[in-house]
């Protein structure tokens, strides 16, 4: 059941809409009307207040949220659809629009494919929606954003971690709240280097996505001086003829300090701990990884965020949830700080180096102007604890230490 947050009545000319009853949830089972004809007047007894509606795009059918897959709880994988996190943030920014004279609303838009989503975004933009939380795989995200090139719309990527979206495929109207895999690899390698674990053995899965993880890890290894002792492909299965590739003990001969596993699917890596030939830690897709969020983080107000989320969703919060929450939070902060709901002012605020977005992870965040990636600390996580926080102590940057994670300005291939 989709929960409508606000009944919005549209003012045709402005980018904002007016409401007759703010923050009134529709009775259970009734979806509030959204497409009232333009010019419909707000009820006269109520004070009309402008509403800034944030769109929320997702696929009706998304393999990443397969309900047979999610209960397996692979490290860093989603525990559910992230929409409740956006709802939590919406409540948090209740007071943020006061000076700008706006309140906030969310509108879910579910589509079957890119074409369907593009059509619906087109309808939404006609109603004045300019900001979209986007929970889509990379390919769909690129197609949707491409269709609105040059328009005053912003798409906030909360789940596609692909490095290419920040490099060659970057688009000016996409902001990335979710960290990309290069950021995660940098955070993890910083940790290995800080602990003087200088030699890593890489086990690589057969998927193209696994290849991307290995590329990111190699890049981080080069950046921070980690040696790669060997890279060995693995396959799933128990065929004795393929034992050199499917048996973890046979895959982990030689000498190394740590085993890095690139396994997007997670089936292989979850069996790797305690099975390596040498007693060495397993990191990457299992064991320890640098994540956007961990429900166990105890500092920076994180337990309060986690608690509010758990009340809303009845489950722990994961990376994509954090990104959805952070996006709505950031939009609220931009409206509060600029005291405005103007598109350009909000966009400029999010990109300013002095911007101070609070992600409940410590260091203030802001979006990198060169590729629109949100710079942020990462949590070096096991399944139920945070071992450390990246950037690790001693990893310094001339301007902002958060830019030791991911693509710094000189590394950027993004041209908007």
């Amino acid at each position: 059941m989709i929960k409508k947050i606000v009944l919005s009545v549209i003012l045709a000319s402005s980018g904002l809409s007016a409401v007759s009853a703010e923050d009134t949830p529709a009775p259970l089972g009734i979806v509030a009307p959204q497409n009232l004809p333009a010019g419909t007047e707000a009820a006269p007894v109520q004070v009309a207040k402008a509403v800034l509606t944030i769109g929320y795009l997702h696929l009706a059918d998304d393999a990443r949220y397969d309900d047979k897959l999610m209960p397996k709880q692979f490290l860093g994988a989603p525990f559910g659809r992230p929409y409740p996190a956006a709802e939590v943030a919406l409540k948090e920014i209740k007071f943020h629009g006061e000076a700008a004279g706006v309140s906030f609303a969310l509108e879910q838009i579910s589509g079957k494919d890119s074409a369907d989503l593009i059509k619906q975004v087109d309808d939404s933009q006609a109603k004045g929606i300019k900001f979209f939380v986007v929970d889509l795989p990379a390919k769909t995200l690129v197609e949707v954003a491409q269709a609105f090139k040059g328009k005053d719309l912003l798409f906030f990527n909360i789940s596609a971690k692909d490095d290419a979206l920040r490099q060659a495929q970057c688009q000016a109207n996409i902001f990335h709240t979710i960290p990309n895999v290069a950021m995660q690899a940098d955070g993890l390698v910083q940790y290995l280097i800080a602990h003087k674990w200088r030699n890593a053995l890489i086990l690589q899965g057969p998927l193209p996505e696994d290849q991307l993880l290995v590329e990111a890890f190699n890049r981080a290894a080069k950046r921070y001086g980690l040696k790669i002792s060997d890279t060995r492909p693995f396959v799933l299965g128990s065929d004795p003829r393929e034992r050199e590739k499917n048996n973890i003990a046979l895959l982990t001969g030689g000498d190394y300090d740590v085993v890095y596993i690139a396994d997007t699917e997670g089936e292989f890596s979850r069996n790797a701990n305690y099975q390596t030939l040498l007693p060495r830690p397993v990191v990457g897709s299992e064991g320890l990884n640098a994540l956007a969020w961990n429900w166990a983080w105890e500092r920076h107000g994180a337990p309060q965020v986690e608690k509010r989320f758990e009340k809303q969703a009845n489950r722990h919060m994961s990376d994509v949830d954090w990104a959805a929450w952070m996006t709505v939070r950031s939009l609220g902060a931009a409206v509060q700080q600029t005291q405005s709901s103007d598109f350009t002012k909000i966009r400029d605020y999010l990109l300013a180096p002095t911007t101070n977005l609070d992600g409940a992870k410590g260091n203030p965040s802001s979006f990198r102007p060169w590729d629109h990636q949100l710079r942020q600390p990462l949590l070096l996580s096991t399944h139920n604890w945070v071992i450390d926080r990246a950037p690790l102590q001693g990893f310094l940057h001339q301007i902002n230490n958060l830019d030791t994670l991911g693509f710094d300005q000189p590394d950027s291939q993004c041209k908007f």
């Binding site: 409540k91 948090e92 920014i93 209740k94 007071f95 943020h96 006061e98 000076a99 107000g301 309060q304 608690k307 509010r308 009340k311 902060a333 509060q336 101070n356 609070d358 410590g362 260091n363 203030p364 902002n400 230490n401």
Partner: protein, 326 residues
């Protein structure tokens, strides 16, 4: 030797045997430790440990009643406010069933306790006679610092998420004003003349100064200790001297206390203390400043005139708040 003479004098004074035994001033220093569920009692002279008082889980804010016979301790995971009898040094009563209590203040008439309800996004008003919550007023999410204006008419509460100080008339049902300050506002202090409200902003490395008459931010003091980036400067605790001339602001991750010249609006010096300096308290004659260091499990004791740490004393795990009975 000096102490012995003092003791002798005290013993000879009839007032020391007053049956009321009010506000005699044990000289003890009380420190709450979040992860050990204790309030540590230190001797005010030699700073040795007198006792660990067991409390409910995760004690944080500590505050005395006006005559200092009782100490209230907000216990976050215990969902209670424990009441410690200073004469007995033990918990004698509890205000129960409060969701995650952290910071609070007492009304000037000592009839009500105002508490920030972090999970609910509200300011709760507890009637101290019945120990029941009589009212909650909705504020921004994650309310934190609470300060009751001595005029009895206004309560200030910060919201870490809304980046605001809410100005609340406890008889009303919603804030009378919402003042936007620096990111993640934490703790509050009024100047002794009641004209300025100071508030620390953890993620903005600053203190915002609010003009009480107009509810507007009129100035901001930023902290810039040498060798630190802004993100490592996280102001939280805040105390002011009785003459209103000096403020001490703990700046968290920068492991220092900033000494601020209130009239001059400038930082006079930074004093190095333990890890993540969180809250601080002055003793009565303002010769000593005690600082709870959250991530080094100790309390730094500063000689105020010398602007120097005399000693650091280990307490429990993750010290949060410190207060002095003298």
């Amino acid at each position: 030797m000096k102490n012995l003479i003092k003791l002798a004098i005290l013993a000879s004074l009839p007032i020391a045997y007053s049956p009321l035994a009010q506000a005699k001033g044990t000289g003890y220093v009380f420190v709450s430790s979040e992860n050990d569920n204790i309030v540590t009692v230190l001797d005010g002279k030699n700073f040795t440990k007198v006792k660990d008082i067991k409390t409910a889980k995760r004690p944080r804010h500590l505050q005395f009643n006006p005559d200092k016979t009782m100490l209230y301790a907000a216990c976050g995971d215990g969902e209670s406010i424990d009441i410690i009898d200073i004469a007995k040094l033990e918990v004698v009563d509890q205000i129960k069933d409060i969701d995650d209590p952290e910071a609070f203040d007492l009304s000037p008439d000592n009839k009500s306790l105002y508490i920030s309800l972090e999970d609910e996004g509200g300011l709760g008003i507890i009637d101290l006679a019945t120990k029941k919550m009589t009212k909650t007023i909705e504020v921004g999410q994650e309310p934190e610092g609470v300060l009751a204006n001595p005029d009895g008419k206004t309560v200030y509460v910060t919201s870490e998420v809304a980046n605001m100080v809410h100005v609340i008339d406890p008889t009303a049902n919603e804030p009378t004003a919402n003042i936007v300050v620096g990111t993640r506002p934490r703790r509050l202090a009024l100047t002794p003349d009641g004209k300025e409200l100071w508030v620390t902003s953890e993620l903005d490395a600053s203190v915002s100064i609010i003009d009480v008459a107009t509810n507007k931010v009129k100035e901001k003091i930023s902290f810039t200790p040498e060798g630190f980036r802004k993100e490592d400067i996280t102001p939280v605790g805040l105390v002011m001297t009785k003459d209103g001339k000096t403020a001490f602001v703990t700046i968290g991750r920068a492991n220092r206390v900033a000494v601020v010249d209130v009239a001059g609006r400038k930082v006079e010096t930074y004093i190095l203390v333990g890890n993540r300096a969180w809250n601080a308290a002055l003793n009565k004659d303002e010769s000593l400043l005690f600082v709870a260091n959250g991530l080094s499990d100790d309390v730094s004791i500063i000689d105020v005139p010398a602007r120097k740490v005399l000693k650091s004393v280990p307490v429990g795990r993750v010290p949060y708040m410190v207060t002095v009975d003298d």
